[in-house]
Symmetry: none
Subunit: 125 residues, 4 copies
DNA sequence: GTGGTCTAGACCACC
DNA sequence: GTGGTCTAGACCACG
């Protein structure tokens, strides 16, 4: 999977990496148990410092998306908690987005359909 | 409308102010055309630096939520573009939230219903 | 409060800092709401890199012991969750320690009294 | 006795082996004088590098839990020093755990009872 | 080889 | 001024 960094974005690089890997897990480009590139390899590929990749991996590990193993490097977790909850931060974000949508003229049904149109299990096999 | 600052939050204060005003517009606590407190008044009321309020107002103006004129200070915009679109930043955020939801076991329908349950036009008259 | 680093210890410096601050909170040398030295100040005082202190503070923040505030730097949290639980890591550690005690001849009562003798709310006023 | 390795754990494998053997001695699954599998056999059984098992055995020997002789391989020590003391490392760990417990609302008596509830001589004969 | 830690020094957003 | 982020390069424990 290719990681793309937007250097002018105000989102820190380590978070961009984290976001794209979460995205990859969600849409199936990254399969459970799949091997991630090593910290050094990914750093070199993107052209950034390995500490930054390290921080991204540490965050993903802390959030439970990946596991790190001294032998094999980092891997996508095998099983995820299917608890159907969102983190508080995501919930707050969602509330803000809904406010924006409301102001921009979305009705409840329109926005719900809009969300549905984005939500797709895209399995890349 | 009362603005509440969470000093502990990772979200910068100026963005908290912006978020709460957008929320207020969305749920009707702030009506189109309504006058906002002056930068100095709001800063004093909250107990923060007026530069911070200034920054929040500048952001709101740039995003098209408020208008300022030299005589009357800041006011909520009279009419909003009902174009039914989201800013690119919100769209990116939404995509991330949906990814998280997908990984946590939400189905498309479950999540869309979840969103619907949060989306409410709360008109405070 | 004085932070003392053992340079030859196998415990990473950032964790030594974290440990000593938790200890300080527990025995009252650090009061709820109390100001911590800035990242730079503590780094200089100890004679280490500020990134290392940064990492210690980030860990303490993540564990809920301190809060950071863009205006005032880092402070001890005001209120702690009194849920009477231990982290899984501490529980595992405790089990190991108890095994060692058992092998070294402690009876259940002796060890429990031993623990009691260490457990003291030492309020330094 | 079965040794189980958690590949995801942050605890190095050699220490996991050491911990489980100490646990086994404590609860009686490993009897004084009992023969341990050879380094090579255990490594093969667990499916890890024999250097890792070697390191675990070296640590156990250094801590006085096992003895090795050239002919018979490794054996659990026949008699343990019943001096009712803990290693400095364990003492430090215990102090940290008690701090955490104190902060989380445990009283001295509650925690000592909690410890007592974990402390059990489980003799597997 | 891997991830984890640390350094010295820099820049940034926020307030 | 603060904490947060990033870099370039180093060393270490682990396996």
């Amino acid at each position: 999977m290719v990681i793309c960094i937007d250097e002018v974005s105000e989102i820190p690089i380590y978070k961009q990496i984290r976001n794209q890997i979460v995205l990859g897990i969600s849409d199936g480009r990254l399969q459970p148990g799949e091997q991630l590139p090593t910290v050094r390899a990914l750093a070199e590929e993107i052209g950034i410092n390995s500490m930054t990749v390290n921080k991204a991996y540490a965050l993903l590990k802390q959030e439970g998306y990946i596991v790190t193993d001294r032998r094999n490097g980092a891997r996508i977790r095998n099983e995820f908690d299917q608890g159907k909850y969102l983190s508080q931060a995501s919930l707050d974000n969602l509330q803000q987005i809904i406010s924006e949508a409301n102001i921009r003229g979305f009705s409840k049904e329109e926005f719900s359909n809009y969300v549905k149109s984005i939500f797709r299990r895209q399995i890349y096999v």
